[in-house]
């Protein structure tokens, strides 16, 4: 089939979505409210799905549509719903208190973005579609990592982990023509799903035993 839209438009779309993902990520970094950040994650996943969709459409690779579907179902609908429900049920205090204050964390994120571009620069040639998507992906991974460090609440850490996951998936889409083989995609997807569920269970138990979700309270095991 011949695509109705030309490659460069596709490339621009992908680049746009990628950058949007990055923006959302930065918003996450400075976000104070828990539920909002969950929604932000959902939005980020939407963009990811969008990129995947573009790729799928442009290459007519049908199994990538599956990826799109999975992302939409899983990361946009199910997981946010799950987390949201948990947050409400355990009526956690909404306020997020990060370790590093926002200006500093913004600076750090800037640095990480720079690093991401540095690392990705040699590979721009590899990208079939759009440029510096890879850079965005790596940046997402790094900032997601930083987000984990910077958060105290268990749930927010899970969230950060998920953004890292998004970054990885973005890289997968960006670097490879047709995304990963379907079986791998499925494996990854279900792993992520199960992971979040198990994390949920743990968070629940922790909540019960510690009467708090502050991870920095988990520091009895020393030496």
């Amino acid at each position: 089939m011949n695509p109705a839209i030309s490659p460069d438009i596709a490339a621009q779309l992908i680049a746009l979505f990628a950058v949007l993902m990055l923006v959302v990520q930065l918003l996450l970094v400075v976000q104070r409210m828990l539920l909002t950040s969950i929604r932000l994650f959902a939005i980020q996943s939407v963009f990811l799905a969008g990129i995947a969709a573009v790729v799928a459409y442009f290459h007519g690779a049908f199994h990538v549509y599956v990826v799109v579907a999975l992302t939409l179902v899983g990361k946009v609908v199910f997981l946010p719903w799950l987390l949201d429900r948990q947050v409400r049920r355990m009526n956690i205090i909404q306020e997020i208190e990060p370790l590093v204050n926002f200006p500093t964390s913004m600076l750090i994120c800037g640095g990480l973005t720079l690093l991401g571009y540095l690392v990705a620069r040699p590979f721009t040639s590899l990208e079939r579609l759009g440029n510096n998507t890879l850079a965005v992906a790596i940046t997402l991974v790094l900032t997601g990592f930083f987000l984990m460090i910077n958060r105290r609440k268990a749930i927010t850490q899970v969230l950060a982990l998920l953004t890292v996951e998004n970054g990885v998936m973005l890289a997968a889409v960006a670097l490879t023509t047709y995304g990963m083989p379907l079986v791998v995609e499925l494996g990854i997807f279900f792993d992520v799903l199960v992971a979040v569920m198990i994390l949920g269970i743990l968070v629940y138990r922790i909540r019960e035993t510690f009467a708090s979700m502050d991870v920095s309270k988990l520091s009895q095991l020393k030496g």
């Binding site: 930083f146 460090i149 020393k222």
Partner: protein, 682 residues
């Protein structure tokens, strides 16, 4: 027929295995375990003596015979033994001592009935004998290291056999830690050789040093010196020795002091004379110096002890020093190209090695009997035992005379040889270094005299005069097997003392192998009656001759008795008590008091501290009761080892902060690692 000795040797190994198994099988039945394991051990050791003596007497010429014990079931490891003179000589040593010890243990183990598990003791005892024998016979570095480690392991278990006592536990740990560090050095040394030869076989190592570059060669020398030095207890690597040897059961102490530390000597001899080629001069100088230091300091520390077994342990350090003097001199002679003198010095060292094995084991056995009888190791609570344990006392006296290097017993002979080699060494070089020979000779004299003083104290305070405690008063003579074991060693002392030239024949193959010389013909004059230095003009001595002469002089005192002292009577009366009412043991000279002059003279070394508390009514001279403490500082312990360990622990504690329990911190570790690696990969 010529395979007979080999058969005996294999029987030895099998016997030890069987003994160990027997011990483990009879864990519950202690009598059975005792007779089974120690009986088999004695038989095995006997076979070992027969085998090694016959092989040495046959003078195994040419390439050493090798025997594969087990098929190569696992890659890179060959369980092969080699029957070369050096190994056989040490096998003789371990078997001879092992024989006496096993017999002794038959009686000694009874002391543990109902308290401890004899089966375990017997099993480990056999195991350590087996491992030691294999150390002496191993044909490649891999096998050697395995045997070496098993020996250390079993010895550790034996040291902490009475693990209910904290002393034994700590002693075991200290011993094993030091020994393991030593093993590490040895391993590195062998690996350096392996790097040069590309194989683990000892044949490949022969005279390898000449083909090695100077750097690795010297490194290997130092590593081996340190590694085997730990095992031998060379000062300053000795700290484990006076702790571990006393803590073990006495038969084990005897084994460790008599045989196990000799594995260090074996290793040094094997490496320095077989593998390392012609040594540079400073090797010999180092060994000689270390030997001298160990000898003097060892005996000085021994003098300060009033714990009988610790005292003996320190004497082991002293004697190792004397052995090293011989080896060091031999190295220097090899360097300056005097093979005959080198052989003489080597013979002196080897002779003293077996002598020390014999009389030190004997002394430890005596000490063991005494400790078992008096339930204390503190000499201040003994005394008067010569009347209650006459036989043990006699054997101990033999050992004491021997270790004090007094004629006509064996210690005198080997030290005489050492003196000879040192004196003749003076002519081998014209450099200032040669002053070392007579000077270390003088130090050897000092050592001998101090040793004599120390054993006057040890024997006098322990066995003579009045008993100083109720235990000592009710002590009983040791059991038959224990006496038998001591008798064997005492006989060995006498034999080695009176018939050195006969024994030297057994050393011919050893020197032949290591220096290409055979001296027994030169050393034995007047068909074996007289022992000569390497040259007949150098000086001669004849212990049997002197003994004969003494017998010939007997008429003099006899005549005087018969002529002058006829009709005189002998009256027993109490010792003069200065007019006080009766002499009590508390008035006797104590061990601490006996060694006080030495302590004062060597104040700088011992840094003695004393606390005196007296409470009195009107005048300090009439104290109601008086408490006196006197401590001697062990410099190496307090100045080197303690600070070192303290430092290590402190750093370790600081490190714990890394694992402080904060998830964020852990994430940061990973994050930082990732970023660093990314930058590295760029």
């Amino acid at each position: 027929m010529e395979h007979l000795p080999l058969t005996f040797l294999l029987l030895t190994l099998l016997g030890y295995v069987a003994g160990a198994v027997a011990g483990l099988l009879c864990l519950r039945a202690e009598k059975l375990a005792n007779y089974g394991s120690f009986g088999l051990a004695s038989l095995a050791a006997l076979c070992g003596v027969v085998a090694s003596v016959s092989m040495l007497a046959a003078g195994t010429g040419g390439a050493p015979q090798t025997v594969q014990l087990l098929p190569a079931l696992i890659p890179y490891v060959r369980f092969t033994i080699r029957l070369d003179p050096l190994g056989l000589f040490f096998t003789l040593l371990v078997s001879l001592v092992g024989l006496a010890l096993s017999v002794y243990s038959l009686g000694y183990a009874r002391g543990f009935y109902g308290r401890k598990n004899i089966g375990v003791l017997g099993a480990f005892f056999n195991a350590v004998l087996l491992a030691t024998t294999l150390v002496f016979l191993a044909d490649n570095a891999f096998f050697f290291l395995i045997a070496w480690e098993i020996m250390a392991l079993t010895a550790y278990c034996l040291v902490s056999y009475e693990h209910e006592k904290e002393e034994a536990r700590n002693a075991g740990v200290l011993y094993f830690v030091m020994s393991h560090i030593g093993t590490g050095c040895i391993m590195l040394g062998f690996l350096l050789l392996f790097q040069a030869s590309g194989d683990y076989g000892f044949d490949g190592f022969h005279a390898l040093g000449d083909r090695m570059a100077a750097g690795p060669r010297n490194a290997a020398f130092l590593l081996f010196l340190a590694g085997f030095g730990v095992k031998a207890g060379i000062i300053p690597l000795h700290i484990w020795l006076p702790v571990a040897h006393p803590a073990a059961p006495s038969n084990v102490s005897a084994l460790m002091s008599g045989v196990l530390i000799k594995t260090g000597i074996y290793g040094l001899t094997r490496v320095l004379f077989d593998f390392m080629g012609t040594p540079p001069n400073w090797w010999g100088v180092t060994v000689l110096t270390l030997g001298t230091i160990s000898a003097v300091l060892g005996v000085l520390y021994a003098l300060m002890e009033h714990d009988l077994k610790r005292l003996l342990a320190y004497h082991s350090i002293e004697n190792i020093g004397i052995i090293l003097m011989g080896l060091g001199a031999a190295l220097m002679f090899l360097h300056s190209g005097h093979p005959v003198l080198a052989s003489l010095a080597l013979i002196a060292g080897m002779y003293h090695t077996i002598n020390h094995a014999v009389f030190k084991a004997l002394l430890f056995l005596g000490a063991g009997a005494v400790v078992q009888a008096t339930h204390t190791r503190n000499m201040e609570e003994m005394g008067g035992l010569v009347k209650r344990m006459p036989k043990t006392a006699f054997f101990f006296l033999v050992g004491a005379v021997a270790i004090s290097a007094l004629p006509p017993l064996n210690g005198f002979v080997s030290e005489w040889l050492t003196y000879q080699s040192l004196l003749q060494g003076f002519g081998t070089t014209s450099s200032l270094i040669r002053l070392m020979f007579p000077l270390s000779g003088a130090m050897l004299a000092l050592t001998g005299a101090l040793a004599a003083a120390c054993f006057v104290k040890a024997f006098g305070i322990t066995f003579l005069a009045q008993p100083r405690s109720a235990h000592a008063e009710h002590a009983e003579e040791a059991a038959g097997p224990m006496l038998a074991g001591q008798a064997v060693l005492a006989a060995a002392c006498v034999f080695l003392g009176l018939f050195p030239t006969t024994f030297l024949r057994l050393l011919d193959p050893v020197t032949q192998q290591l220096t290409g010389q055979q001296l027994s013909a030169q050393l034995g004059l007047a068909n074996g009656l007289v022992l000569a230095g390497a040259t007949a003009t150098g000086g001669t001595v004849s212990t049997p001759g002197l003994l004969l002469m003494a017998v010939c002089l007997l008429p003099v005192p006899l005549g005087l008795w018969l002529v002058l002292a006829r009709g005189t009577t002998v009256r027993r009366a109490p010792t003069w008590d200065c007019g006080l009412q009766g002499l009590t043991p508390r008035m006797e000279y104590t061990a601490t008091g006996f060694s006080k002059p030495i302590r004062m003279i060597f104040k700088a070394l011992f840094r003695p501290r004393r606390e005196v508390q007296r409470d009195y009514d009107f005048s300090p001279y009439f104290a109601k009761n008086l408490r006196f403490d006197s401590h001697v500082e062990e410099v190496f312990q307090t100045r080197i080892y303690r600070p070192l360990t303290w430092l290590v622990w402190r750093m370790a504690r600081k490190m714990r902060a890394l694992q402080a329990g904060s998830l964020q911190a852990y994430l940061i570790y990973i994050f930082v690692t990732l970023i660093l690696l990314l930058l590295f990969a760029l």
